[in-house]
Amino acid sequence: MENPELLFGVPMLIIGGLGLLVAIELLLAGEAPKSKAETAVRAGIMAFVGLGAATIGEYFLAIEMSQPMVLLIVIAVFKAALIVQFFMHVMRVRDAHAEEE
């Protein structure tokens, strides 16, 4: 393998990304929310913080590493998942169908 750091880097990024998603969910579920709106705002801000951190991470990764392509793809997928889950609420499609039925 040309880049042995990928052997550790990719799984670490995947685990870290999943960990962040779980942490956000736990934080949202942990405290009794004062209102639905407050929970929604907090979720949006936390997702944005995750997106910002990932963007800065991929920027420095591209500068520091010679062949960071795989890692950058993993980060991009993670960022897209954050947007689709927390900003676009993809699960509402299923919920809306369940409600109509």
Binding site: V41, T55, I83, F87, R92, A96, H97
Partner: protein, 206 residues
């Protein structure tokens, strides 16, 4: 009207009957029955079809230029990416605000989203004018095609956000009825998702 209403059960459905009666309701405006599932599904199918278009361009970038890259302004790339991500947050907060019936916050966040969208488009335009590679080079072809198509979506998104802002100023949308806001904001997020993949492909890989 009465004739149509009487005929609807024979045409096969309470849904049709409800639609006709509701459409001509006392409010005097279009009060169509809400079909959230169909609207959501239709919007997401549109996103899927758009994704194929952007995926084709993303593939073409690596087919044309391999993993090579032209000289791009890295700080500008990071800057416009941050602006677009921030605009997704303001768009989201705008949607949350109208869902809570807070019109002032809804309009403020929507206005910020429009400003950030214009700033992003301006950044791309600046990159175009200062690019050190030509359109005929493989990387240049990919760069101008990808950023051009994406920027056209940003501009159309800004236009739709502007329309929603105008309607919001005139009292349209409420906590119960804000599908127009939701759909346009989702479209804006989709444009952001596309850039999430375009940014590393154009600025970081290579």
């Amino acid at each position: 009207m009465a004739a149509i209403t009487q005929q609807t059960p024979a045409l096969g459905g309470a849904a049709v009957h409800r639609a006709v009666v509701s459409h001509n309701g006392a409010a005097g405006h279009h009060d169509e029955p809400q079909r959230p599932a169909m609207k959501q599904l239709g919007l997401w199918l549109f996103f899927v079809s758009e994704s194929f278009l952007f995926a084709a361009l993303l593939t073409a970038r690596f087919y044309l230029a391999g993993t090579g890259r032209g000289e791009v302004n890295q700080l500008l790339g990071l800057g416009i990416t941050s602006i677009l991500l921030l605009s997704s947050l303001t768009a989201y907060l705008s949607e949350v605000s109208i869902a809570q019936g807070n019109r002032g916050a809804f309009l403020l966040y929507l206005f910020l989203t429009i400003v950030l969208g214009v700033a992003f488009a301006g950044g791309v335009a600046f990159e175009w004018t200062t690019a050190e590679f030509g359109r005929s080079e493989p990387y240049g072809t990919a760069f101008f095609s990808m950023t051009g198509l994406h920027a056209s979506h940003v501009v159309s998104g800004v236009g739709m956000l502007g329309l929603v802002y105008y309607l919001g100023m005139r009292g349209h949308f409420s906590a119960k009825d804000h599908w127009g806001v939701e759909a346009v904001v989702k479209y804006w997020h989709f444009v952001d998702v596309v850039w999430v993949f375009f940014y590393p492909a154009l600025y970081l890989i290579g």
